[in-house]
Symmetry: C5
Subunit: 354 residues, 5 copies
């Protein structure tokens, strides 16, 4: 729910558009990667100086500026100022707990998506925010920290004949979002495996840890759903061609990732349904097993209590108890006891009580 | 959730339009069946050579190309290239975990539906993907593996006076989807029978296996729902005549299968409602039966404990216990014990405790 | 879920428009009733010969053809052929497990509604399908079997000054649907009474049969809902005047039955809510009563166990037990026992444990 | 669900527009109150003769006719005939189990609302139907029985300078509906108090009566919801100015009662949410308390059973039991028993078992 | 649900537009703060005299009138009369239990929002109503009591170069609502911390107090949701530019707070989901722990009952019991007892019963 670093509430009272980082990954200095390309040539340069980066932008070619480490407010602000971005847009870039959204700023398209990654160690899910600002021949992407998520796209950019190399900034945006959505399936399949593993454990007898794993997975799915669900609307808007910055031939591509998103949401819902079915099974099996134990214990007591009573009777000290004096009194009573216990066992067995 | 063969996550990082098979049935070579017909003549040829198939296509007549075994990427790609199909369309054909959908590619209509079949052996449900590409006088269908699902349609095509023989490729498409939807009812009636069978078992006393059967059926219904539900939108689109490739006289036919789909969804929802009602009954009956047992056991104990106490009293070794010496002390105590136990039984009976 | 006679799955593989009866009531020959009327005259004739019926149709007057027993495929087909009805329409007439719907065939209006009747004997709900085909001056109604549902309408038709006599076939259709919807309230009030009866039983102590009755009623309501809910859309369409076969002055009448249907749906939802509240009460009261019993039993045991212990102490055979020799040892112990048991009873009472 | 008097099912089979009273309050003769007013003068007359009432209507001034006791079919019919009201409208007036609705009859507006009142004695909720027919300068209101609900409006009508006196029949309609909606809050606050009272009882320990009160309140809320929810749509229609009989300046007034209705619905939903939370607490607290009792009882038994065993050992009659002969054997055993019981108590205490 | 002071039901029967305060905070006299500013100058004056305030209004500059303490009906009415506000608007200002809403009065925009604050002491949530009336160059805000919520905005107004100083009354409105929405996150993060705290407590073993805290938090969330949810629609209306009083350049700003509101609603839903998951865990862990205790107790009893039986056997007084006379009879029985108890312990251990 709440990260340990910078929280949203820290912004209460500040004027709108204040650039305050909200999020977990407070890295130091941002790294800026500038790539410019056209069909003929591809150049890429990594730097941490903003001015050097700006000098690399070439208006006659497609430019991709990727910023890793948005907690570095100074760098982000310099970029915002240089490209004349709206203060609220810049504020959204630095608030890393946003839900996916698309906003149309006259000559710019602003997109927020969330990329998922398995949490380190404990097995949960983590999500990071990636913001895109799409201009005419320019795409700026902001990431929370340096990852190799977009490595495949850079590789394709380096190939002379690849489609992305021959297309504009809108196709580059599509390629990057495609990577993000494809990545969801890696997470979802991992979760599907986990669900099956938990199910196997449940069948062989549930324990408290299984319940905790189940609840944790449920929480992860709530979180996942929140990250993926709103992306649906965003992509539906892009597919319908709401923005003039996306060329018409790309609508079929955005429809494709829209379909993938629907597929991911479907899978999330199915996993949720399966988990709640498993919770029912777990609770039922736990109470079943315990009740079974209690039943057996109670049956043991129930068999011995009448026997103890019989023994008690012949332990009475009445002077006038004829049976006491009989030579076969004792064996007779033992036989009686054996008979009573066998009769009870037979009765319980017949009633299928154990 | 996840097949053991090729998974979707294997595609993460690849450029869009990469033809990688995702699914369970990785057969070897694809089989292609080409049928051409008009009112006068019907010819059908099965082959595994792509070139031979292309040579059979007759633009003056209706052509139906059926591909069985889409894991054969080479054949699928050859067909895609020959008919100039969009790379994303070809990618969707090979991803066999798609939800039903319809996509309009200018001069083509692309449809994905799912056909259901009872899983072999264990009794679950399996679903396979069938993709249709409808052109002007041409229909291409892609199936995961060879089945005799469309045998009835081929039979009707061979009859000179059948409606399908005299109509275009759109009517053929309708006939094939009609077969798929009719097939749902075979599965659904089988599941309805299962539900009734489980219900009968529940009334005669639920066991853990019944619960497992119930949960498995619930999972099957989730899966079924996912396969059938999106078909509703697809058929609603066809019925409303969104595509110019479907002639107006066919709208009433597509409305008919739309109705059948609604009917199928209705049945699924009813089965779901019934299953959850049965889970309630199951849990209630299990706990009821167990409690009944515990009650009887406790009653037995409760009757014997006071008796044992009485025996204990007269087992005390006090020198001065007048009753001990009475000649009828022992029978009197036995009578007392019988009276106490009968009184308790009567009281429990009157209170309807057993 | 599934009738014992003819099932829908029997149709899988047949060409669309095949006239195969799907349903429970497979009567023999159909009975056809033809009524023709105008403001001046009313004539009615019952026959089982199709040709005789056709000869009675009078195009200058309003004609109502009522067919009882649609399992007689030959008769139904003859009527379809004579009036040139669409094959899919005829197929829908014979499939008696349809949900209510309205379809517009150019010059015809096709309506399917479901009429409810209390199941014979066991107390469940049964529903039958009635199909209407409304033409210009002609109405054909298809019923599964002969009932006296429409007797009241025929009576009104025989009265010279009745509104239905002076109006067209559309008002006749309205009158018949009105009868069907009014009939729902008979069923719903019967169910409301049942619910109240079950509730009374629950308050006086629930039993397993009550639970079964509750679950059966729940199932009936699911079934009912499925039959009534889609009628809402059908009537909403008629009220909004979507068909040119319904004259404008009738819209207010269809709005009226639309309101009645909403009312019926409302009642169904309320009954459902009440039933699920009752299930909670049932489960709670059953577990409460059982726990009460267990508590009393346990209290009895708990009181006697310490007493038995005291008796056990003085049953020990130690040579040196001074109390044994005391003249008032025995009465003292009895007094002690009485005191202990009274103290425990007082404590339990004070703690409100019984 | 069903009143004891006249039920809706009694109407099945009757022609549409039949005036049959459906409802609980079957009073004898209706009372008619006719009020006519303009800015200058206000006259009011109560009568039970229909003709006398009609003579009082003054077309140049605003006329309000209030009918108390709609079970008097003759009076209601006379009014319907005199004002030429549609038969279906009159039927709706007499069916007192309608949901709130608005219907537009060309030159008339027909409204049905439900007024709530605390049920007498048992504490439930009762609702009565009030129908309004709004004409150009005329408003007719039909109530089930005589109440003093509208007394405040009559008082304001008698004040020369009040807004209602200076406005038309539409403002009068608004004033009356405003009274009805304001009245909901009296009921809702009473229910809110009840909910808080039940909650207080629950915290101090729930009993079966509390559960019954809870369930009854739940039922009341279902009923309430049904009465208030559809009013939302009705008022939304009036606010949007769908009828030409409502002057434009009144839209803001109807928006105001629309807001109040939303507020009431909100409160109902909140109460429902709170009740279901309370049911959870109740069930949990009941089972908790009972389990607590069982635990203490079981602990008592568990402590005495080993002690009884020790006593049993030294009650054995073996000739050769050295301890029996020891002079301090008995005290030693007593010390052992005390030690064992203290050890067990200490262990249970440490484990926090009581 | 209901405050202790003035309730809504007190208004039933009063004419619409009656100024009766409904709410908890019945402060005495209202405090009025009037601020006027343009790019050049900023003046602020606090007063409790209405006339003095009106004299400060300067039509050539932006005026902000803030009223603290709306229970002072006289002051509120004077303001309403002076600015010619609609009586229903004034009524809404004084009814402090409104849901957020926006109303368009020709030349005015009326907004109601709710500001949340942690309840004093007990930890619940309290909400107060703030009403805004936006005119052309004038904004009036009504608060229930004096708070320092808007202090930050006043500070920014005092800075010459701040955006709010250079903009109109619409930007001021935006700034104030922005403060209100930012404030939600303070509350939500506090609740998120509470949820985590409760979760930690649950894992270390739930108690009844934890359940109560959980239920209280659930109630708070219901309340929160009711306060925030309708704000969504209000802001969506402002963002879409429904009112001409909001200049076009501000739409992007209102879209921003709209996004924040969606984010807040999302967080509320997530917290609700988490709470209900925690309730499941709580109930399961409580019953688990108790059952564990009962099982151990039952096992102790079950081990001693057969031993007591053996002791009972040799306590019988039969003359002819050979074992009694055996010299090693007693030790043999003791060994038997030890063996029996060990065998049972081993069996229970092997079955994993404890």
């Amino acid at each position: 729910m709440s990260g340990s670093r910078s929280r949203r509430s820290a912004k209460a009272g500040l004027p709108p558009g204040s650039l305050v980082h909200v999020g977990k990954h407070a890295a130091g200095k941002a790294t800026i990667t500038v790539a410019t390309y056209d069909a003929g040539e591809f150049r890429i340069k990594e730097s941490s100086s903003v001015e050097e980066c700006f000098s690399l932008v070439d208006p006659s070619r497609v430019t991709w500026i990727n910023v890793d480490g948005i907690s570095d407010a100074k760098t982000v602000e310099a970029i915002g100022t240089h490209f004349n971005l709206h203060p609220l847009l810049m504020e959204d870039v630095m608030n890393t707990d946003q839900r996916p959204k698309m906003e149309d700023y006259d000559n710019l398209l602003f997109l927020v998506v969330r990329v998922l990654s398995p949490g380190n160690g404990t097995g949960g899910i983590e999500s990071e925010q990636i913001s895109f600002v799409l201009g005419d021949r320019c795409l700026i992407s902001f990431q929370e920290r340096k990852t190799d998520l977009f490595k495949g796209v850079i590789d394709r950019l380096q190939m002379v004949r690849s489609r992305v190399r021959k297309s504009g900034a809108d196709y580059l945006l599509y390629s990057l979002i495609d990577v993000v959505v494809d990545n969801y399936f890696v997470i979802l399949e991992r979760m599907g495996d986990n669900v099956e593993e938990i199910e196997t454990k449940l069948i062989s007898g549930g324990r408290v840890e299984t319940l905790n794993a189940l609840q944790k997975m449920k929480k992860d799915l709530i979180y996942l759903r929140r990250s993926v669900w709103p992306l649906r609307e965003v992509l539906s808007g892009l597919e319908r061609g709401e923005s003039r910055l996306i060329s018409g031939t790309l609508h079929v591509f955005f429809r494709d990732i829209y379909d993938h998103t629907i597929h991911a949401i479907d899978t999330i819902e199915t996993l949720r349904d399966m988990l709640s079915g498993m919770l029912d099974i777990y609770l039922s099996s736990v109470s079943n097993r315990l009740n079974q134990v209690m039943k057996v214990l109670t049956i043991i007591s129930t068999i011995f209590i009448p026997l103890t009573f019989i023994a008690g009777v012949y332990g009475m000290n009445f002077k006038n108890m004829p049976e006491i004096g009989w030579p076969y009194g004792y064996p007779a009573v033992v036989v009686l006891m054996v008979f009573v216990s066998l009769a009870m066992l037979y009765y319980f067995k017949k009633k299928k009580w154990f």
